[in-house]
Symmetry: C3
Subunit: 309 residues, 3 copies
C-alpha cells in the first residue's frame, strides 16, 4: 500500500484509498485481535505529549501494547528537555534513536509537521493546537464504516461549536472526499464554521451544505449526528457561555423524531451536551467510537511500520 | 473460585475463603515466580491514579509486569481528561476498551465503587480517601500468613493514629472475620478508633478489644504489632502534633520485653514512628510486607482475570 | 567480567578493563541489535527520577525495552512518596522488590551512593546534582571508540562551561586513565575547571593540559572537540550571562581550519553553542553520540544483570 515509513500530519496526506485501507485493516483487527497480538513485537512507540491529552495518549499506548509492542515517552512538556531550551528538531533527532514510531501532541500549530521533517521514523500528529487531529478523523471514519457499512450517500449533521472545533473541521474536509456526502451544520450563529472552510468545501469538493441554528428541525432527515462540546474557554465572557451552552444539548426526547438507524457520534470527552439518558439508546455509539479508535490506531501504526502485510 | 470478572472495592466484597484463596496463591507465586511469569501475557493493566501514590502504583505495575503483562495509565489527575469536566462514568467506559483490568486511586470516598458500576473489566480500589484500601489489607494478611502460618489465634496490637488510619480500619474489620483474633489498640485518647467502628467490631464479630495509651504495657503479650504513621495533616494545630507524634515511637529498647516471635508490621512509608535501629531486628518484617504486597497483587489480578487456573 | 550485581555510582568504580568491556559490548549490540533483543526478557528496570531528565530517562527506558525487558518508575519526585517524608533508604528497600535493576537521578550529590548501600539490586547513578553522571561518560567513550577506533593518543578539547559542567569533569577524569590523552581546555577565565580538579589530573594522571580562552587558536591541532552548554542558571547576574554565552559558539566558518577527521561531540541538549549549519558537517557526531548512548546503556545493564554472557 506504500504507507510504510510515511508520516501522518494532516488527513489529506493520505489518499482516499490509503484511508480506506487503514479503516479496513482496523476493522479486520477489531474482528480478530488475537491474530495481530504480536505483529509489533520489538517495536517501540514514542509518545511526545507537549500538552497533556490522556485519552489520545492512552488510546495510542493501548494500540501499541495490543500489538505486542512497547511504549516510552512523556505526557507533559514540563518534565521534558524542552524546558532547557532545546529545539524540536534536536529533540526529534534524539528520540528517533530510541523508538520505531512517534506520536506528537503539541499546543503549537505546525509543530508536528516541523518535527516530521527531522524524523527518520514515522511520525503521527496527535493534535496540534486548533489545527489537525488526524487520528480522531480516522476514528470517526472507522465508526461510520462499521455502523453504515460504507462511507457514502450519507447526510451528516454536526452540532455544537463549529467555529473552533478542530475535530469537526478535519472530519468535514475528509468526509467531503468520499462519494455523495452532504452536511447539515447546526450551531449558534456565533459558532458557525469559518467562512474560508465553507468556501473550500463547496468549491473544492462541491458538497451540499445546510446551515441552521435548530437541531430539531433537521433531526428526522439525517443519517449521522456528530455532537461536539462547546468549550468554555472559547468564549469571551461568562454570560455568552451560559446563554449558549445548553442550546444544543441532545436529549432522549429530541431523538424521538429521528431515524431508526441514526448514528450518534461524539469525539469525547463530553460535558453535558449529550444527556446521560441518551447513553442507553442503541443509536448512541460514542463509546464504541472511542473503542474503534484503538483499532484504527493499531491499523495506522502497523501500516506505517510496514508490519501488517 | 468464582473470582473471575469480579471487582474489589471493599475487603468485605470477598468471603474469607476467597481471601484465603488469594493469599495462598500469592504465597505460591512468591515461592515460584518463574512459573507465573507469562500468565498475563497480552493483558493490560490500566492505572487510574487521581491522586499520586507511588508505592501503590509501582507495586501494581511490578505485579503485572512480573506476570508478563503490560501497563498504561496516569499517575496524577492533573494530566487527565478529568480537568475537562468528564464524569468518572465516561472515563471508565473509554478506559475499559484500552485495558483488561483497572486499578483506581481517588481522593473521594466511593469513587471506585461508582466506577466499578460502569466498568466491563475488573476494577480494583487502590485507595479512596480515608475510606478503603483493600490491597493493603490483603498485603497485611499475606504477611501474617507467611510469618504466623495461619491467620487465627492471634493477639494483634495496633499503635498510632487509629482515628484516621484507613489502613487500620480496613484490617481491623477483615481480621475480625478470622477465628479467635483479639485486639490491643494503642493510641493517644485523641486518636482512638471511631466509636461506631468499635461498636461494629464488638457487636458484629464479638472480638475482644483492649484500648490503652501505653505501648510498653502490652508489648510482652502480643503476637503482632502493627505500627502506623501519625500524619501531620490530621492535626488541627502544630502544638498537638509535636506533643503526640513521638509518644508512640518503637525503638529497640522498648522491644526487649516482647515475644521472640513477635511480628512487627507497618504499611509504609514510615517517618520516624519506628527507629532505624529496629530495622535489623529479625522481628521487623515491614520491608518483607511491602515485598509480599507485590505477590498478593499478582494473585489478586490473576484471579480477577481468570488466568491462574 | 565480574560486573554482575555491581552498582555504578562513579565512573571510577570500574577499571579501564571493565569500561572497555562495556564499550565493546555496546558496539557489538549496536552492530547486531537483533541478537540481543530478548536478553532482558522478564527483567524490570526501575527509574527513580527525583528530578526530571527526559533524555536520560528515555535513553535508559529505550535500552531496556530494546533488550526485551520492561520499565516502571517515576519521572518527577512530586508524585512520589518522598513528599510524605520517607527516607531514601526506605524507598530503595521497597523498590528493589519491584524491579531487577535501578537507575536513580537525584538533585543532591551523594544520594545515589547512599541508595546503593541499601539496594539489593544493581543501582546506576543517572546523575546527582553537579557531581557525577557516569552513563554520560560511557556514552562519550563509546562515541570516541566508534569514531577514533581506540581511546588513546588523542588531543581532546573541551569548550564552554568547564567550571560547573559535571559532564566535562567526569569525562576528564575517566579519559585521563586511558593512554596518551592530552587536553585543551577552552573557556572564559570565569568558567575554567576547578583548581583541585586540574591538580588531580596533572598529579594523579600526569596528563598534559593547555588552558586557553581562544577556541580558534587550537582548532587546527585537536582530534576531538567536546562542546558544552553555558547554563544560564550558573550565573550570578544576567549581564555576565549575555556577555559570555556567545563567546564559544561553534560555527561552520570556525571549523574551516580544523582536521578532516575531527570528532565534534556535545552531551545535548544544546541551545545555541553549536550553530545549526554545523549539523550537516560529517565531523559533527553529537546525534550519533546520543544514539550510541542507548547501546552503551544496554551493555551496562546487561553486564550488571549478568545476562550478556
Amino acid at each position: 500500500m506504500g504507507l510504510k515509513g510515511r508520516h501522518l500530519i494532516d488527513p489529506n496526506d493520505f489518499t482516499i484509498e490509503e484511508i480506506q485501507h487503514i479503516i479496513d485493516l482496523g476493522l479486520k483487527i477489531y474482528q480478530n485481535p488475537e491474530k495481530y497480538s504480536e505483529i509489533c513485537k520489538g517495536k517501540i512507540l514514542g509518545t511526545l505529549f507537549y500538552e497533556p491529552s490522556t485519552r489520545t495518549r492512552l488510546s495510542f499506548e493501548s494500540a501499541m501494547l495490543k500489538m505486542g509492542g512497547t511504549v516510552l515517552g512523556f505526557s507533559d512538556a514540563n518534565t521534558s528537555s524542552v524546558k532547557k531550551g532545546e529545539s524540536i528538531a534536536d529533540t526529534i533527532r534524539c528520540m528517533d534513536d530510541y523508538v520505531d514510531i512517534l506520536v506528537m501532541r503539541h499546543p503549537r500549530e505546525g509543530a508536528p509537521l516541523l518535527a516530521s521533517q527531522f524524523s527518520t521514523v514515522p511520525l503521527i500528529n496527535g493534535g496540534d493546537g486548533g489545527h489537525q487531529h488526524p487520528t480522531q478523523t480516522l476514528t470517526d471514519l472507522i465508526t461510520i464504516q462499521e455502523y453504515k457499512q460504507e462511507i457514502k450517500n450519507l447526510k451528516v449533521a454536526f452540532c455544537g461549536d463549529l467555529l473552533f472545533g478542530r475535530t469537526v473541521h478535519s472530519l468535514l474536509k475528509t468526509l467531503s472526499r468520499f462519494p455523495n456526502i452532504s452536511f447539515v451544520l447546526v450551531s449558534p450563529k456565533e459558532l458557525q464554521i469559518p467562512y474560508h472552510l465553507k468556501q473550500e468545501l463547496i468549491e473544492k469538493y462541491q458538497v451540499e451544505i445546510t446551515e441552521t441554528s435548530s437541531l430539531e428541525e433537521y433531526l428526522p432527515h439525517i443519517d449521522i449526528l456528530y455532537m461536539t462540546r462547546i468549550q468554555k474557554e472559547r468564549f469571551f465572557n461568562e454570560e455568552d457561555y451560559v446563554k449558549l451552552k445548553d442550546s444544543y444539548i441532545l436529549s432522549r426526547n429530541k431523538l424521538a423524531s429521528s431515524k431508526e438507524d441514526l448514528l450518534i457520534m461524539h469525539p469525547l470527552p463530553r460535558v453535558n451536551e449529550i444527556s446521560y439518558d441518551v447513553d442507553d439508546d442503541p443509536r448512541a455509539k460514542y463509546f464504541e467510537q472511542a473503542k474503534l479508535g484503538v483499532y484504527v490506531r493499531m491499523a495506522l501504526m502497523a501500516s506505517l511500520l510496514g508490519v501488517n502485510e
